[in-house]
């Protein structure tokens, strides 16, 4: 039984956190723009976006990689968090909007005279910030309770979360739902009294996102290493066996689902001020699947994988959408298909995969007979079905 964190891991984490949270912002703030070491505002903003994607990716992996729940609804929770914080930002625009009124522009446009009641509390930063985690968590709780109670599993769960996301997306597209319709919320001016376009503010947001990623990582690391984590993975591998071991698998799944929703919501809340807009297209199922691509490419079932994947795929996207705008989706789709087919463990698992491949090749070259141990016929790995014959 190893402790939650190994020594090397702590050192490595410390170095990475130092680079991401201290070094890069410092280089951005205190080096002259022409210096070789300078990190531009654009880069900081871009990395800040990637960091919030990485948090989202961890939440996806917590569900998919560790619990076997392939949720297509993570972007819904991400957007809900984004909207909650976006509401705060929209209210802080004040009279600086196009219509020079206290209400957000879209409400003026729709002919509203007063702020709807459900918008009122979002004037307060702390309310909005906690709502960005709590609202997704509550939605996840309600939906998850129903879904897990009905023993909806596997692909059925995926399909149902897809439907949920679709419904949410349709709802937010409606003007009468009072969240800005298909334009969403945008043209933000201030966050906590600072000009949102100011480089220092963006740097602050970047650091906050980095800190969130750091905390999320440590929290998930602790969660997955605990006894809870063992049961969580047991649910993934053989839910029936877990049930017959006396654990209420539905409750475990619900817990993870709610936690993952809250994490995704927080990621969304930090994403919105950095990109300056939140609209319903962020909720399309495709966005959830894109986040799943990051996890698949990075390596699911690990906590490093999602972070690596989020950075790698998005960096590739930034480059490819400029270099081959027509082909980007073909690259993404093709890459994803190939990863699913040939790289089940993703980039993180690639060295191990290549190593065993190399072993196989070198063994064949030396014409050595196959290992005696492996020739023993393996029992059918039908552990999903503890009792196939009645």
């Amino acid at each position: 039984m190893s402790a939650t964190f190994r020594k090397t891991e702590i050192i490595l984490l410390g170095i990475l956190a130092f680079i991401a949270l201290v070094l890069l912002p410092a280089l951005n703030a205190w080096t002259p723009p022409e210096s070789f070491f300078h990190i531009s505002n654009f880069t900081i903003n871009l990395y800040g976006k990637y960091l919030s994607y990485a948090v989202l990716a961890i939440s996806v992996d917590l569900l998919w990689g560790f619990t076997g729940l392939l949720s297509l609804g993570q972007c819904l929770f991400f957007s809900l968090g984004g909207y909650a914080f976006g509401m705060y930002l929209a209210l802080k625009v004040g009279k600086l909007g196009q219509y020079k009124q206290d209400l957000p522009d879209f409400m003026v446009f729709l002919g509203y005279k007063e702020l709807p009641a459900h918008w009122e509390p979002f004037r307060h930063f702390w309310f909005a910030a906690s709502a960005s985690a709590l609202v997704p968590a509550l939605v996840a709780l309600a939906f998850g309770y129903l879904a897990f109670r009905a023993k909806i599993r596997g692909v059925y769960f995926s399909i149902l979360t897809q439907a949920l996301t679709y419904a949410g997306c349709l709802m937010f597209f409606q003007n009468s739902f009072m969240f800005g319709g298909n334009n969403g919320l945008t043209d933000f001016k201030f966050v906590l009294g600072h000009d949102i376009r100011n480089a220092a503010t963006q740097r602050g947001l970047y650091i906050a996102t980095g800190a969130l990623l750091f905390l999320t990582y440590i929290f998930c690391r602790w969660l997955t290493q605990s006894k809870f984590g063992k049961i969580q993975r047991a649910v993934r591998d053989s839910e029936n066996r877990v049930l017959f071991s006396g654990y209420a698998a539905p409750n475990y799944k619900l817990f993870v689902f709610v936690i993952a929703a809250a994490i995704a919501g927080l990621a969304g809340a930090l994403y919105v001020p950095q990109v300056g807009i939140i609209n319903p297209s962020e909720m399309a199922t495709d966005k959830s699947l894109e986040a799943i691509v990051w996890v698949a490419v990075g390596g699911r079932g690990t906590l490093v994988g999602p972070v690596v994947g989020a950075f790698a795929v998005n960096a590739l996207k930034s480059w490819a959408t400029r270099a081959f705008p027509d082909l980007w989706l073909i690259i993404l789709g093709g890459m994803f298909t190939l990863v699913v087919l040939f790289m089940p463990k993703g980039l993180v698992g690639l060295p191990g995969q290549l190593y065993s491949l190399w072993q196989k090749i070198s063994r064949r070259r030396t014409n050595a007979p196959p290992d005696g141990d492996t020739s023993f016929p393996e029992a059918p790995s039908d552990h999903q079905n503890p009792n196939p014959e009645s």
């Binding site: 029936n240 654990y247 009645s390």
Partner: protein
């Protein structure tokens, strides 16, 4: 009638798409008893265990454990009442270590919050796990993935998980399948050593093994009880012979 039976089933029927897997079955088990259930394929043996453990629910009839109806409870609730089961095909957590498998089986609180906040393994628990691992002969494989074990070892690991649970009622489905003769004998000894402390139902095809257990035998046929008695009584029953004829002449 139901005095102090630990398990009683009365008038239980379960059909799948019109096929009656269990047909008006009544079954009573005393506390501390060791019972062997035999019967040809499709007699409804495993379905009966499914009904007890909550995997499926009966169409009609009631099943009581220590006087409490359990037909409406979920699998994990039934487990927590003290009914443990070893499945026909060994089902262990393949991606967990052997040690973790026993750990997850260990009796104790099973709620989300308690595993999250009080999930640390105490020294006593660790000792207990190693005791069990020794009993099932897997101490040397404690840190290996359960999926890499041989078939018979998986069977034992699953029995080990049952031991860790320490349930009042043990349901053991074909424990000897895939074991060598030597292992089978050992398994039999293990089960006999548990008898008395626990109430046990064993389902088995291997007649040598059944003889070793030397318990009261229930013969199931087409979903209901054909005969109950000692192995010798059952062997000489006309109807039982008829049912088994051509399949197990050597009985």
């Amino acid at each position: 009638m139901p005095k102090d039976f630990i398990l009683s089933a009365e008038g239980v029927t379960k059909s799948f798409d019109g096929f009656k897997a269990i047909d008006d079955l009544s079954f009573y088990l005393d506390e501390g008893e060791l019972r062997t259930i035999i019967g040809p394929n499709g007699a409804g043996k495993s379905t009966f265990l499914d009904l007890i453990t909550g995997k499926t629910r009966p169409d009609i009839g009631k099943i009581e454990f220590k006087g409490t109806p359990i037909t409406k409870r979920s699998e994990y609730q039934i487990y927590r009442m003290g009914i443990g089961r070893k499945f026909q095909t060994p089902s262990v957590f393949a991606n967990h270590t052997v040690y973790d498998n026993i750990l997850l089986g260990l009796e104790g609180r099973r709620g989300v919050w308690s595993t999250l906040l009080f999930g640390r393994t105490s020294t006593e628990q660790r000792d207990r796990i190693y005791d069990i691992l020794k009993t099932i002969n897997l101490a040397h494989k404690a840190n290996e993935q359960a999926g890499t074990l041989a078939y018979g070892q998986k069977q034992w690991l699953e029995i080990g998980m049952l031991l860790a649970q320490n349930p009042q009622l043990l349901l053991i489905d074909e424990p000897a399948a895939g074991m060598t003769d030597e292992e089978t004998v050992k398994t039999g000894e293990l089960i006999l050593s548990l008898a008395g402390k626990h109430t046990i139902i064993v389902i088995e095809h291997d007649m040598v093994f059944v003889r070793q257990l030397n318990s009261k035998v229930t013969v199931l046929h087409q979903g209901h009880v054909l005969r109950e008695g000692t192995l010798d009584e059952v062997r000489n029953d006309e109807r039982v012979i008829e049912v088994y004829l051509g399949r197990k002449k050597n009985v």
